[in-house]
């Protein structure tokens, strides 16, 4: 295949060029990422095509569309997507684009509609995506060629769900979703099995942007090293709470005082990475009071991991699932090379008590909101990184991927054995070590997808 055919317009062709962006020499103790990965506009356009266009992306929750004809909209990077449950109860995902003039068909985030009518010329589609009306069709003097064309909504290449999480892919050439998720399924299960009737995103929209590249969030999603600097004001507030001051309605955890707690990272095929650590106080989790029921339902190991461990999991490329201050699912959506939109969902058990839900909410709001006490400090650091990275002529290689490399081991360890997971690599140590090694696989997968895209090869042979 001619490589130029696979490239977005206006982008130069240099199949060897990709090698310049990740300096991956484990035997020399070197792993570096080139700053252009965060700032280069051409590279960003390739990312949209070769990474976001050719792998699974999180779209939303099945619980958003429980009934026939329910729908929600979203994006894969800049591509608008419509997800529907048809009258046949099947979930489908489409490009949210009218076939007539290309207008975004549905601009409501969530709702119920048997028919989606484009407000421009009233072309209409049912909840299975079938075109049910071309306005004044008979009077339209349409030629045979037009009549023989397909006027239905164009489906995404693939759509599938796992444990209530709906994923889609623009390209049909992707592995089965469960194979893509692999052993990260354990962490999805940990979260999504906590409610006896399932889990749901708690109503209320938490949407914000930061003026930085999406990968800054990907990295931060598993970064413990920054906690004692970036979040020092939050840690001080927490120590004050432990002394009985401040807002006593939220938790008083003491991460900074427990820098020795056992911490481990795992990486999995397809670019996923996980950071796990001991939870200093299992009783603090809203689920703790129902631990016995949970053990009976999902088994002791899984149940105990919901309270005795914290984790931050990155589902490549841009989804983060965490169990720490709250249960949070976040998506970092790239809009441009230096603008990212964040959607955060606070997850709660369907049908849980008001008190339990209130506790989850207060913890989530305390830390994760764009109006919280911690997340804004992260977002502002991403912006500061973007500003620093953009300086031409500065040091091209970033040195933020080496912590933990001496202790990086192939395969699993005690913790992955507990959960029968088979990681590519693991690292085990203390929280204070602030490992960075779980970022290697996401970047290797990023490079692999970019390379195969550039060369016009299949993403998943």
């Amino acid at each position: 295949m001619n490589i130029t055919q696979a490239l977005p317009r206006g982008i130069g062709v240099d199949p060897q060029a990709m090698m310049r962006y990740i300096d991956d020499r484990p035997n020399d103790g070197i792993f570096q990422v080139h700053r252009d990965v965060f700032i280069d506009r051409d590279l960003f356009e390739r990312e949209l095509a070769y990474v976001f266009g050719r792998t699974w992306n999180f779209l939303g929750f099945e619980s958003q569309i429980p009934k026939p004809h329910d729908f929600f909209t979203g994006h894969i990077a800049r591509t608008p997507v419509l997800v529907t449950r048809g009258g046949d109860k099947q979930i489908r995902a489409f490009f949210n684009v009218c076939r007539h003039k290309g207008a975004m068909l549905c601009n409501v985030e969530q709702g119920m509609a048997r028919v989606h009518v484009c407000p421009y010329h009233a072309w209409s589609y049912d909840s299975t995506g079938a075109n049910v009306s071309i306005k004044d069709h008979a009077a339209g003097d349409y030629p045979k060629g037009f009549e023989s064309e397909d006027h239905n909504l164009k489906p995404l290449g693939a759509v599938a769900s796992y444990k209530g999480l709906v994923f889609g892919s623009i390209s049909p050439d992707v592995p089965l979703l469960e194979d893509f998720l692999g052993d990260t399924k354990f962490f999805v299960d940990l979260v999504m099995d906590q409610g006896p009737h399932g889990m749901e995103p708690i109503p209320g929209r938490a949407l914000y942007t930061f003026r930085g590249n999406w990968k800054l969030q990907l990295e931060n999603g598993m970064d413990t090293y920054h906690l004692t600097t970036t979040h020092l004001s939050f840690l001080n507030i927490q120590s004050d709470r432990r002394r009985g001051g401040g807002n006593q309605e939220v938790r008083k955890s003491n991460v900074a005082g427990n820098m020795g707690i056992k911490t481990s990272t795992f990486t999995f095929p397809h670019g996923h990475g996980v950071l796990t650590l001991e939870n200093e106080d299992p009783t603090i989790r809203p689920i703790y009071s129902q631990l016995d029921q949970l053990r009976a339902r999902v088994g002791k190991t899984k149940a105990d991991w919901t309270t005795a461990r914290s984790f931050n999991a990155t589902i490549f490329p841009n989804m983060n699932l965490s169990q720490n201050y709250a249960l949070i699912l976040r998506v970092a959506r790239p809009i441009s090379v230096d603008l990212t939109e964040m959607t955060s969902y606070c997850l709660g058990a369907i049908g849980e008590s008001r008190a339990q839900r209130a506790l989850r909410l207060r913890e989530f709001e305390d830390f994760f909101n764009a109006s919280g006490l911690a997340t804004p400090d992260d977002s502002l650091m991403y912006e500061r990184c973007q500003d620093g990275l953009t300086n031409a002529g500065g040091p091209p290689w970033l040195q933020g991927y080496a912590r933990g490399m001496n202790e990086l081991k192939p395969g699993g360890n005690d913790w992955t054995n507990e959960i029968s997971a088979r990681p590519l690599q693991n690292w085990m140590g203390t929280f204070k070590a602030g490992p960075e090694v779980m970022l290697h696989e996401p970047y290797r997968e990023w490079q692999r997808l970019m390379d195969t895209g550039l060369r016009g090869e299949r993403a998943y042979p």
């Binding site: 109503p203 929209r205 804004p376």
Partner: protein, 200 residues
């Protein structure tokens, strides 16, 4: 600090017409136009003081406007475009049932250890359309306002405007009006990086 210009404000039409009819100057009754005007003035003074204290970063003065058991709530909007109605069942931008939560905000804003708050954005609060909600009493009143806060995020060299409406429940405590409850409706909830109490 600038003196509170209670007297310079135009007299509400209702009160003016009462005066023009030559109504006798009686001690203000609970529902007399004069009493209502005085209450509204007191409420407006409090709301404008809050705006000014935040703009001038007089954090302790700002906190002192709230009762210890105050409720401070900034609800989020649902995906369907309606405002959330239950802070215990739906997500809020901020929810506190006590002033200690607000005090924590202040400690963060002034700590120099928060990258998002160093330096604290420069703000200009504009409040208007201050009206009663329901009938006030001598020691309790509810008010609504419309507000705009312009903010310069200094390091980012970005200027944003946040806007919305707010509901206040004011309580008279030892002869001083304080905020017992504030609900802020943030209408532009597509948030650029961050927002804190000083920008609401």
């Amino acid at each position: 600090m600038p003196a509170v210009k209670k007297k310079s404000r135009p007299t509400p039409p209702a009160a003016r017409s009462a005066q023009s009819r030559g109504a006798p100057s009686l001690p203000a009754r609970k529902s007399s136009p004069e009493a209502l005007r005085d209450l509204l003035d007191a409420g407006r003074d409090l709301i404008e003081s809050e705006a000014m204290y935040l703009d001038e970063r007089r954090w302790d003065d700002w906190l002192a406007l709230y009762t210890e058991k105050c409720e401070y709530w900034v609800p989020t909007w649902r995906m369907d475009g309606t405002l959330t109605t239950s802070h215990d069942e739906e997500l809020s931008h901020i929810y506190y049932s006590n002033r200690a939560g607000l005090a924590e905000r202040v400690s963060r804003l002034t700590s120099r250890w928060s990258p998002a708050s160093s330096p604290v954005p420069r703000t200009c609060h504009i409040v208007a359309n201050i009206r009663f909600i329901g009938a006030p009493s001598q020691d309790r009143m509810q008010l609504r306002s419309s507000w705009v806060t312009h903010a310069l995020y200094i390091r980012q060299r970005q200027t944003y405007a946040f806007f919305g409406s707010a509901e206040y429940e004011l309580a008279s405590v030892s002869g001083k009006w304080l905020i017992a409850r504030k609900k802020v409706v943030l209408k532009n909830d597509y948030i650029p990086s961050m927002i804190d109490v000083n920008c609401l």
